[in-house]
Structure formats: C-alpha cells, structure tokens
C-alpha cells in the first residue's frame, strides 16, 4: 500500500502498458512506431520501479527511474540519428523493406 493505492493496481497498470509496448514493437512495421513502443515499455518499467520503491519505503526506486530517463534520452538521440541516416540511404523506414544486415 502506498497511501491508499494498493501495489497490485500499480503492477497491473505497469504490466498492461508493457504488454501494449511489446505488441507495438512486434507488430508494427514503421521504425518510428517501434521506437515509440520501446519508450512505452521503459515507462512501464519505471512505473513498476516507483510502485515497488514507494511500497518498500525507499527512495532508491526513484534513483533508478532517474537513470532510466537519462539513458532513454541518450538512446532516443542515437536511435533517431540512425533513422535519419537510414532514410537517406533507403528512402524508407519500413522495417520489412530494410534488410541491409541480411545475408
């Protein structure tokens, strides 16, 4: 319990968001939307971390979320730069049409 919020509500929301994110990452073909789904999964993990941290009475959950947000910022900038470079070469960001690494 955090205040009057049961931990199970937090975990259920987190699990639902993570599952939606993984569905997007597996089923979409637009690279940007796959990337957005990955951001969503990070946020679902953040929600679980904050829920557990608050339920334990510890601030370390918040510290972890702080680092996750910083790393997400780094990941987003590099990922988007890759998409820009990819689009220059192939004129598409549909992942079914990009097979540079396929032998």
């Amino acid at each position: 319990m955090i205040g009057s919020i049961p931990l199970s509500d937090v975990l259920l929301a987190s699990g639902a968001l993570f599952s939606i994110g993984i569905a997007g990452a597996l089923l979409r073909r637009n690279a940007i939307q796959i990337f957005l789904s990955i951001e969503l999964m990070m946020n679902a993990a953040n929600l679980a971390l904050l829920g557990y941290g608050a339920a334990m009475g510890s601030q370390e959950g918040q510290i972890l979320v702080f680092f996750v947000i910083a790393i997400a910022a780094a990941e987003a900038s590099v990922g988007l730069a890759i998409f820009v470079a990819l689009f220059r070469h192939t004129e598409t960001i549909d992942v079914n049409k990009i097979n540079l690494l396929k032998w």
Binding site: I2, A16, F18, I20, I22, L26, I71, A74, V84
Partner: protein, 169 residues
C-alpha cells in the same frame, strides 16, 4: 480517493498507449504517447515521486517526444500502407508472443506483490516525496553512477552527430 485518481490516470495512460500502437499515422501516435506520458506523470505524483513526475513531463513528454516529432517532420514519413507487405505469420506469432508475455508478467507480479521485503527503517510518506533527500542520495551514494551517465550522454551526443551528418559535408 487517491486510488480512484490513480486508477483513472493509469486507465488514460493505457487507452492512449493502445491508440499509439493501433494508429497508422506516426504523428498521431507520438501525440497519443504524449497524453499517455502526462497521465503517467499524474500517477507518479500519487506514488510519492513528484520530482520524477516533473522529469517525466519536462524530459520525456517535453524533450524526447518533441525530438520524435522533429524527426518525423524532417523525414516526411507518410501513413503505413496496408499493402502486400503484411505478413500473416508475423502477426500470428507476434500476437502469441504478446499473450504469453502478458501472462508471464501477470503471474510474476501476483507472486511477488504480497512479499515486499520491508526495510529496517522505511521512509515516511513526506520523506519519500522529498526531492532534497533524493538529491543527497544521488550525489553521495550514487555519485559514480551519475558521472557515468554524464559520460554516456556525451558519447550519445557525439554518436548521434557522427551518424546523422552528411558524408560529403
């Protein structure tokens, strides 16, 4: 009351996350995710993390998703065309993997949510929500990690610059 507000915020976040995944227009997807992240920020306040909620609004919804919008406008990506590239086996296996994963996650959370290891001295609600205490923890015990993240951000900055620049420039 708090529970009701949290549940409503979580529901809004989940609904807009669903819209993000379903939508065919990438710009609308980004905007739906912005709404979802704002709702999550409201949830973070109720989970006694107001500083993280502020970071969520400023860094996530404000900076990262606006970067996505910039790139979308730059690349001028249209809607995803429902053409012959759709692969049924990918849809079937993907859906199966999502269902299996959701079940796994649910079972894991059910198994652990009743057995939280309490600390010897759990913080009170006021202490948990105190950004000054968070900063003291961050700049003492986690100082090394903090510095490592700053190096990582610098590396990401240089990497993004090298990746995205034109070869002839």
């Amino acid at each position: 009351m708090e529970r009701l507000v949290f549940d409503v915020a979580a529901l809004v976040a989940i609904v807009f996350a669903g819209l993000m995944v379903i939508g065919r227009d990438p710009v609308k997807s980004v905007l739906a995710l912005v709404v979802s992240f704002f709702a999550l920020a409201a949830g973070y306040v109720l989970l006694l993390a107001p500083f993280i909620a502020a970071l969520q609004v400023i860094v996530y919804a404000g900076a990262i998703l606006v970067l996505f919008l910039f790139v979308l406008m730059l690349l001028n990506v249209g809607r995803e065309r429902p053409d012959g590239m759709r692969r049924p086996i990918q849809m079937v296996l993907g859906s199966l993997a999502v269902l299996l994963f959701a079940g796994l996650l649910l079972g894991m959370f059910r198994a652990t949510s009743g057995k939280i290891p309490f600390l010897a001295r759990p913080l009170s609600e006021g202490e948990l929500a105190d950004p000054a205490a968070l900063a003291r923890l961050l700049f003492s015990e986690y100082l090394l990690h903090f510095e490592a993240v700053s190096v990582l951000l610098l590396a990401a900055l240089i990497g993004a610059f090298v990746l995205a620049r034109r070869e002839d420039a």
